[in-house]
Symmetry: C2
Subunit: 308 residues, 2 copies
DNA sequence: TAAGGTTACGGCGATCGTAACGATC
DNA sequence: GATCGTTACGATCGCCGTAACCTTA
């Protein structure tokens, strides 16, 4: 058993159990990986993969159990590298942030700006994805940190931190009837609605809040992206239901924002990362920066509420 | 980085950072390990060990962090081997049981007998040690399962299972005054006592029970071993305070046993093993056997109480 | 001076790449 | 026949062992 065999098994999973692709990914010829796999299997004494003819079709029960250990090894190996690099220069490295459009555009700019100033040597990669994918990105080691709003399932492998709470808001053109007057569930539900796609940015909160009242929203447009929603609100298609922090005081002057905290329960945005994943110092500081920014935004939200 | 380097670092720890000894343990010449260590350190970019001259004196901060990952890798590697062996033949293998003399002699015979019948191909190694050492044996991978009575510290790395509860008993020669009449804390404390060494078999329970009453026992002999205690009780040195199940109805006919459950709180014997340690099927069954035997012994204890 | 660690160098074996072959869709 | 995997064989590179050297109790 050796580490390249471990790596091979990992790569095989990533490539859908395709030896040729795995070989390519590992920069060796295909025959090499074929042999290594055989060697490993014969060392263990039984096959790790089910085969139809010569093709690998699935993991054997043994394979599944072994894979769990394999990924523990791969993780620890990666951690060693990261820890060492961190000791060499804790201002140099990369951080992969998995998040949604809304967070990336309306929440992250401030903390990322501050982070950049402290760690100019760290490359920041933003991975935009749907909320369900965010957690997968962590497990697949595509991302180090995920920032997500929809409920993080009670995943034993993850550490989650509270980042900030926020409410939804309605945005309408200035002449729109909803620009003035009290807003109730009924009144809101009487307009055509533009909001987030299922699974995005607290959509489930909106859904359940109205369902509880026996109402159904007439969602005529759903997008993953606040800006898309605003665009169509400006065209007069209806009422935009967006995250409160996605209203920009300056850029969105032409729209009227109405707080909906009395209609839709608050959403909670969390930070998540893998428990066994070693985060370099700068990543830990990045998370602190996020939490700090979260607290500040909470204070601002408080002010907003008073103002409205 | 490769697995033999991982192994080397482990071995170095075991040998007290002695390259020569590590080389011997790994069946390679000393120059080989010297080179491998250098290669690994230079790959990481900074040293893992503090050095005085050429000798390794200590781990660097980096080294300490890396070591934690190293042992995760070593553990996972071991697990892979065990899992594979388990699939090949789940009736073959070894189990290392760390426990104390009292458990080994008075509790384990029944479950081990039954286990042997089901798994004749499994070699059983009993490691006798003091209770503090038992847990260490798990961490050092000298033992797979520990059976211990003294409180298992809340060790995050361990899984513990309740095995059985028991009480202490007093044993005296037949003519001894304590062979008859009520037994109180005061009366018991008026005799010279023979019992377990500190840290063994519920000694702490005895200690605290009498301390609470403002009494101090006159322990004239302390041993790790119930049989030693009995031997000196027979010689008339005093009253033996032993674990209830360590009284043998037949072999100890010449001694009178007196239940002390009203004087000394019950002790709890637990089974412990490492969380990340894969236990082969037969080990899991062995643990079940222990728990079963524990429940039976509890029933017996119940009968004993009625009888006395 | 003994014990522990490093450096230099030659030899051996594990693993790779090339290439030809086999199987499956 | 295109894709995917296996087998055979020669070449290479990594790693070990021998041995001489260095350094500190």
């Amino acid at each position: 058993m050796n580490l390249s065999q471990i790596e091979l098994l990992q790569t095989l999973q990533e490539t859908g159990l395709n030896l040729s692709k795995a070989a390519e990914k590992m920069h060796v010829v295909q025959s090499a990986v074929s042999r290594q796999l055989q060697l490993f299997e014969s060392e263990l004494g039984s096959p790790l993969f089910e085969r139809r003819g010569k093709k690998l079709t699935d993991l054997t029960p043994l394979g599944k159990r072994v894979m769990a250990e394999i990924s523990a090894i791969a993780q620890a190996k990666q951690n060693i590298k990261t820890i060492a690099a961190d000791f060499l220069d804790s201002n140099q490295g990369t951080i992969h942030i998995a998040t949604t459009h809304t967070q990336a555009k309306y929440f992250l700019p401030v903390p990322i700006q501050r982070f950049r100033e402290k760690y100019p040597g760290v490359r920041i990669y933003m991975l935009q994805a749907s909320p369900e994918q965010l957690i997968d990105q962590l497990h697949n080691h595509k991302a180090d940190v995920a920032i997500c709003t929809e409920k993080v399932t009670d995943d034993e492998m993850l550490i989650t931190k509270h980042c900030y709470e926020w409410h939804h808001a309605a945005v309408v053109p200035q002449q729109h009837p909803l620009a003035t007057g009290e807003i109730s569930h009924d009144r809101l539900a009487s307009f055509p609605i533009l909001t987030y796609s299922f699974g995005y940015t607290g959509r489930s909160m909106i859904e359940s809040a109205f369902k509880e009242k026996g109402l159904e929203l007439d969602v005529i447009l759903a997008a993953a992206d606040t800006d898309v929603i605003k665009t169509y609100v400006r065209l007069g298609l209806g009422v935009g239901l967006i995250a409160g922090m996605a209203y920009d005081q300056i850029a969105d002057q032409d729209l009227v924002v109405r707080d909906l905290s009395h209609l839709i329960p608050r959403s909670i945005t969390k930070i998540a990362y893998l428990k066994q994943h070693y985060l370099p110092l700068y990543s830990q500081h990045f998370i602190e920066e996020l939490i700090l920014a979260g607290q500040e935004s909470l204070e601002n939200t408080g002010k907003n509420h008073k103002r409205q």
